[in-house]
């Protein structure tokens, strides 16, 4: 499996992400944001960080990077795209995923392990997990307060696009950032573009606090 990890100026999770995919036996390349073409990748990942210093809005400037045109074309042809944290924000700004991010309700940058509940697993990304599974994965963001209009939200539920929600260790609702319905991760209608605020690439080894990211990172392997 060949994974492309896009690097924007200000991206800072690129190396962790590449390393995570290499851990499960994938070949991973960095793709600099000024590239205009994508090689034959099985998966393109937009990693976390602060692309373009998060100026204007998180992800708003990265959207106009030359590589994003290629990423959009790749996604529209059915290619798998995963956006983690800032990558998720970029996918929202690029309209590859519905909705938008606002500041965390409590205004704090939140950096800690947080429990998540699997809401839908009928997609490539969560196929190795079961509905209702509770996993523990780090979050690290100031703008994870996901917003989407009610009509779109309903459609997303109907299509199985709401895939991960924040919860406590028993699966009860626990919302760290004010996100609508405690949503932590979504996908597009065609289920080939995924976005989540938590960082599965930071939960790959027990020495780092947990291994719950492995099943997600592995899911794209053919």
């Amino acid at each position: 499996m060949k994974v492309g990890v896009v690097v924007f100026p200000g991206t800072n999770c690129d190396r962790d992400t590449k390393w995570a995919f290499e851990q499960i036996g994938a070949k991973a390349d960095f793709i600099w944001h000024s590239e205009e073409k994508l090689d034959n990748y099985d998966l393109v990942v937009l990693p976390g960080g602060f692309s373009y210093g998060d100026y204007l809005r998180s992800g708003a400037i990265a959207r106009f990077s030359p590589i994003m045109k290629a990423v959009s074309e790749f996604a529209n042809k059915g290619g798998y795209v995963l956006g983690i944290c800032n990558g998720f924000q970029i996918l929202l700004e690029s309209h590859l995923l519905p909705g938008a991010m606002t500041r965390n309700e409590n205004l704090h940058f939140i950096s800690k392990f947080h429990h998540l509940k699997v809401i839908n697993n009928k997609n490539k990304f969560l196929q190795n997990l079961n509905i209702g599974d509770i996993i523990n994965i780090p979050i690290a963001h100031a703008e994870g307060n996901y917003k989407v209009d009610e009509k779109t939200l309903k459609k997303m539920y109907d299509n199985g696009q709401i895939i991960l929600k924040y919860c406590d260790k028993n699966g009860n609702d626990l919302n760290p950032n004010g996100s609508v319905d405690s949503i932590a991760g979504i996908c597009n209608k065609n289920k080939n573009v995924f976005g989540l605020m938590p960082h599965p690439e930071r939960a790959m080894q027990s020495i780092l606090g947990g291994v719950d990211g492995v099943k997600m990172i592995e899911s794209f392997i053919k």
Binding site: L56, R57, A60, F64, L92, E93, G99, A100, T102, R103, N104, E105, N106, L107, N145, K147, V148, D149, G178
Partner: protein, 80 residues
């Protein structure tokens, strides 16, 4: 021509910054402040004397980049 694009979160979208500022103002003694919304102003210096054209261009900029229509509204103001 100087054009200002004022961007605000839409009514109904919670503005955590506004809430924090409101709290601080109340603490400072400005008890009669009931609501605060924090937005941003983007000042554009556009090389044209055609006011209509400048406004049209600023609208296009706001739609494509300066505001996110999912959560934000904007208004355009001609400064000079």
């Amino acid at each position: 021509m100087k054009i200002a694009v004022n961007v605000h979160l839409k009514k109904g979208v919670l503005d955590p910054q506004g809430k924090a500022v409101l709290h601080a103002l109340n603490t400072l003694g400005f008890k009669n402040v009931e609501n605060v919304r924090v937005g941003k102003q983007i000042l554009l210096d556009i090389d044209t004397n055609d006011k209509e054209k400048a406004i049209k261009e600023a609208e296009k900029m706001a739609d494509e980049l300066l505001a996110n229509p999912v959560i934000e509204n904007y208004e355009i103001e001609v400064k000079e």
